[in-house]
Amino acid sequence: MRCEEVRSVLPELADGEAAAPEAVERHLRGCAACSGELERYRALLFQLRALREVLVEPAPGLLGRILAQVPEPERRSLLRRVAADERLFRAVLSVGGAVVGATAVGLLWWRASRRAVAAGAAAEAGEAA
């Protein structure tokens, strides 16, 4: 493989998510320039990942502007709605749970009573015979 071909696949090999084809591996073992290029891509990815830990300090007024965009009364009413939604959600969950529970009990009772009726009918048929 030529250096140009190998270099065209280095950007995606650098993160190690895909294995390098054997021919590329062989080339990299014997070519200091291309393996140096791969190391530079790896260094770039390392620097990019490190950016995640770096916080940029915003302009001083940002926090105030974020909080001011929802005035206090609106914030209260919105949060009350959130709280009401939360209670509604829990109520729906409770009612839903109760309905499922009642259905399950009803189903068991219905099956048990059907079995009893069937057993009674079988006994009567036996006696008649």
């Binding site: 995606e12 990019l48 915003p58 974020i66 965009q69 929802v70 949060l79 959130v82």
Partner: protein, 194 residues
Amino acid sequence: MVEPELLARCRRGDPAAFEEVVRRTYRHVYTQALRLVGDRHDAEDVAQDAYLRVFRGLAGFREEARFETWLFRIVANAALSFLRRRGRFGELLTEPEEGPREEPPNPRDREVPGVGDVLAERDLLVRALEALPPSLRTVVVLKDVYGLSCEEIGQELGVSEGAVKVRLHRARRRLKMILERAEARHEAEARDEV
């Protein structure tokens, strides 16, 4: 870090709790927005929009996911919406042209990894990211800075996983080229000064 107790206070309608959530998270939100849109002023707009979305979406947040993960997605969506609104929608969806394919001067002569102190390198990298077109910057930031998978990024952007991989390839190449050119310039300037 936002604890479940603080979120529970938000849900009970406590405005002070919401303010506390904003206080604890706004630097992260602003930084993430800045990385994605590449401009301080635009990042402030994105951060403000993101908190409106958080405020209105709190009722739907059920803590199956971590709050920080949920917030991250909201900021990413707010940033992508911003870029679309700013007329960069086409740029986000279409494949960018390949940059010039020239190689940096004498790459074999250079040390690996690059020279220079960490802060200067980081500053250079941030400026290189800002110089990328939005379609490349958003992909490389979401993948290589914040660790999303190509599939997840495709879902966020509304493009295929394959398209994300192509952009990632181009973004990494272009970033490396920009950094190497800048390093070469620095070295040339340093030589001239001697």
